[in-house]
Symmetry: C2
Subunit: 202 residues, 2 copies
DNA sequence: GATGAACAAGACAGATCTGTCCAATCGGGG
DNA sequence: CCCCGATTGGACAGATCTGTCTTGTTCATC
């Protein structure tokens, strides 16, 4: 079963993201450059001139494809989210075993992600941290992104015979988000293993 | 034992932060206004004119007290971190019981924090998310802030007879950061209880 | 009363930001 | 060949940003 077939999932672990992917059309180059710059320097701190220059396109081309910077940010998050899920579920679908083993392997894949020297945390969490107010569009985008993994976790919990699968999903949310942020703050990918050990006791 | 006596710890739970505290001197008003605006709108998105206006001071006064915006950000983080720790450890020192019970109560206090309608996540995590690169000064400030709680946790783990107290500290880091981010993203304070239940199994 | 530090108010410079617009250019399909 | 859409390069407007500076005022202290 391939959950997210939108994007081919055969990326190298160290280059899972949109960044560095072959980008032939100007639109792709803009999205790739914007993703890299947004993730590396922050959303507000990155200007559209910088993005266009880094993408090798004219600013007019950028505004021909995206009607505003906010619109570009949304597109970046959507594409990066899709790419991440495609890579993540691609790795997940490679693992066999019981649902419990599959859930444990989630943290192995996270550790691969954290070990990327270009790891910058979860772009969705970072976007929420930066635009910390009543940005409901952004919150909806984050919820949509997170829901894919949550649905998968819910299915695994059901298969394991959990009476309250939602409880496991919420626990995994804490462990996954905690591992992401701890690894991001401390630049220590091994927090994925810490979370994995905790999850093993659930 | 009062761990952080720098600032009196008798704040109401819903107004633990520097925001809204009596601020008589211009310097205090600037710090309070900057804290509020930085946390609500983001660091990069908040201008010094806005801060000065919101503080009811002149911009020259701001630059008389802080030599740059980055310097102001550092001062805000330091003061807000101190205020948070003072409130947090004040709450923590009120709880009695075994070290295990004290550790469990950490999550009760976190839930108080998350339940503040003005809860905006951890300013340090947000700052790291925004300035996502090689800002070593910021990373050091975050490490310093987190170390207070880590030292306390380490002591509790020792008292509980853990052979590897550092392991418990790392596990708690995942649970605490995970609860903070999950509560921030979903606006659901009950993630503190989810983390508490997980911690009970350690 | 005189002095001096702190502050207010705001002009100002220089950079940067988002977003628009226009003329020139390129390239593929009829 | 011709046309048309896509793209380029850059000027441009208007706003905003950080940081400096000047002038005048307030106020406590000598």
């Amino acid at each position: 079963m391939n959950i997210n077939p939108d994007i081919p999932a055969n990326r190298s672990p160290a280059a899972w993201s949109c960044i560095g992917q072959p980008a032939d059309t100007p639109r792709d180059r803009i999205l790739s450059a914007a993703t890299e710059l947004f993730c590396h320097n922050g959303f507000a701190a990155t200007g559209v001139d910088t993005i266009a220059h880094h993408a090798g396109t004219a600013k007019s081309t950028l505004y021909a494809h995206f009607k505003s910077k906010d619109n570009l940010i949304e597109a970046v998050l959507e594409r990066e989210g899709q790419a991440w899920r495609s890579w993540f579920f691609g790795q997940l679908n490679k693992t066999a075993g019981t649902p419990a083993q599959k859930i444990a392997s989630v943290f192995d894949i996270l550790e691969l992600w954290f070990s990327d020297p270009e790891f910058y945390g979860c772009p969705f969490i970072n976007a929420i941290s930066e635009s910390n107010s009543e940005d409901d569009r952004l919150r909806a985008a984050v919820a949509s992104h997170k829901s894919h993994l949550n649905l998968w976790l819910h299915a695994q919990a059901l298969e394991m015979g959990f009476s309250d699968p939602g409880a496991l999903v919420r626990q995994m949310t804490v462990l996954i988000d905690g591992a992401i942020v701890a690894a991001q703050v401390s630049r220590d990918a091994s927090f994925a293993r810490v979370a994995k050990e905790i999850a093993a006791r659930l």
